[in-house]
């Protein structure tokens, strides 16, 4: 019986205590941040949308290789040595590669931050931007390369020409080498043959 | 009790069923046992004073290419010692006695190993798929697994 009364009293009392707590909260300052008008502070190193600075990228593709989900697609083109507009990295060093394709599919990205840590030039970075919801999934496929298709075509052509030239040069060189080799061989032969000849002659 | 002592004692008791002790620091040492006798060995390990492995930490299935393997990580709450048992069975007849009756926790672990690797645990009361749907085909964690093209009219690959 005493237990019963105690339980009833406890039930009543704890309800009162709970109500007191909620009542005090009723008048406390609210913690809500009204998002579109006010914003919660986001630290600068927050890992949100990725951003690539095309002028910094040297096309090493280490980000694409480290990416666990393979959401980065990089294609590179070699820079022709006698290209009139030599690509430069912002710090002034010369770049050996054009980056005509640098695509990130944000629908796949897992925002792990591995690509930013392996980047030797700090070209790819996480930004604090997060408001890029879209009505279509295709819009989440972002192309970062600053090269226009014409430029890409031009560079491709240049490279092809260069490669053809190089190939030709190589072929030339190879031919030359072969020639030289054969010449040398011939010479050697010629050098040796007289001996034999001489031997023979002897 | 170290794993060597356990190995010695088990060797004494079970002889041929205990195949060998693999020591490979810094990695874990493990005892390789024959699949048929795993139930008896586990029973001994749980109940014999001195062993008292009352806690099955983990039971994993492995695909070794030609063979399948089940790995048992045991722990004793009382003595705080551990042992690793391994069994190896051929892929075309992957049958291992179930230890579900010894440690109830093995129930789901064994179902998972059956589901993903395809080891059949004999004596398990309800050996059905656990993670994949019941009408799934194939054992996904085998090295030669190929994901299906369609499942219930839904395209699976990206």
């Amino acid at each position: 019986m005493l237990e019963y009364i105690k339980n009833v009293w406890l039930g009543f009392w704890t309800v009162i205590v709970g109500m007191k707590i909620t009542f005090t909260h009723l008048f406390e300052k609210k913690v809500t941040v009204q998002y579109p008008d006010d914003r919660y502070p986001i630290p600068p190193n927050a890992r949100n949308k990725l951003h690539l600075e095309p002028t910094l990228c040297n096309g090493c593709t280490s980000c694409a290789r480290i990416c666990p989900v393979n959401c980065i697609k990089v294609e590179t083109l070699r820079v022709v040595p006698d290209d009139p507009e030599q690509p430069m990295i912002a710090d002034g060093t010369k770049r050996k590669l054009w980056v005509p394709v640098y695509d990130i599919d944000f629908a796949k990205c897992c925002f792990c931050g591995l690509c930013t840590t392996v980047c030797p030039t700090f070209a790819i970075k996480h930004t604090v931007e997060f408001e890029y919801s879209t009505y279509s999934r295709d819009d989440l496929y972002v192309r970062f390369s600053d090269m226009s298709p014409e430029k890409v075509a031009e560079k491709k052509k240049m490279l092809e020409e260069f490669q053809a030239k190089e190939k030709a040069a190589k072929a030339e060189a190879a031919r030359k080498a072969a020639e030289e080799k054969s010449k040398a061989e011939a010479q050697a032969k010629a050098e040796s043959s007289p001996v034999t000849e001489s031997k023979e002659s002897n | 009790m170290t794993i060597n002592e356990i190995y010695e004692q088990l060797k004494e008791e079970y002889g041929d069923s205990i195949i060998e002790l693999i020591e490979n620091p810094p990695c874990d040492s493990s005892i390789i046992v024959k699949a048929e006798s795993i139930f008896d060995i586990c029973h001994t390990l749980r109940d014999k004073p001195g062993f008292e492995f009352d806690y099955l930490m983990c039971l994993s299935g492995l695909d070794l290419g030609e063979n399948l393997s089940a790995v048992y990580h045991l722990y004793s709450m009382k003595h705080s010692h551990k042992v690793v048992l391994k069994t190896i069975v051929p892929k075309d007849n992957p049958k291992i006695p179930s230890v579900e009756k010894i440690w109830r926790t093995a129930d789901w672990h064994e179902r998972e190993a059956y589901d993903l690797i395809g080891i059949i645990f004999e004596g398990h009361h309800n050996l059905i798929r656990i993670l994949c749907p019941y009408d799934w085909e194939g054992y996904p964690l085998r090295k030669d697994y190929k994901e299906p093209e369609y499942y219930h009219e839904m395209k699976v690959p990206y």
Partner: protein, 178 residues
């Protein structure tokens, strides 16, 4: 009879009244969106955080409902597996029109980190149900959820109820004339 008469007439004749009426209807739907509790994976935790005091999803006039019948939109938050996909389709069918879907997080958008080797993951929830807004992130910040919500509200507000009918009529007219 005035309003009703005008309802039957083409949109232009009904002009302002119909336009305002449509605006009011759209305003109601945009401002009072009840959502279905639907947590699947990691994003669901952020979803809970968004419901919590700091971000307070209810500011947008959303009220959580446990049953699909009373919900206006569904937020797919997390990885949709093949085992789960049929359920989601069912839930979507159970919801009453007009209904919307927000796909949140990489996993729901296209399989996310699991798109390559995930033999049991549905690569994008848009393969089974229509998606109106995609929110990227893995998981998105709570504000990103709300950003998606704002975009959805914007979409609803610009939706055409009577204009659509008008447009349809026009299309049929063109067909008939042609």
């Amino acid at each position: 009879m005035g309003l009703l008469n005008k309802l039957n007439q083409p949109y232009e004749a009904g002009g302002i009244i119909l336009g305002t009426f449509e605006d009011i209807l759209n305003w109601g739907r945009a401002r009072s969106d009840w959502y279905l509790h639907f947590g699947l994976a990691c994003c669901a935790i952020e979803f809970m955080a968004m419901n919590a005091s700091h971000f307070d999803f209810m500011r947008f006039g959303t009220i959580p409902r446990a049953t699909p019948r009373q919900a206006d939109f569904i937020m797919i938050t997390g990885t949709v597996t093949l085992k789960m996909a049929e359920r989601i389709k069912k839930l979507w069918e159970q919801m009453a029109e007009p209904k919307y879907c927000i796909s949140v997080g990489s996993c729901a958008n296209c399989g996310g980190p699991y798109w390559e080797h995930g033999y049991h993951v549905l690569k994008g929830v848009d393969r089974i149900i229509p998606v109106h807004v995609y929110v990227p992130g893995c998981p998105p910040r709570p504000e990103a959820f709300q950003d998606g919500m704002i975009k959805l509200q914007k979409m609803i507000k610009e939706e055409a109820i009577f204009r659509k009918r008008k447009k349809l009529e026009e299309e049929t007219k063109i067909e008939l004339s042609a």
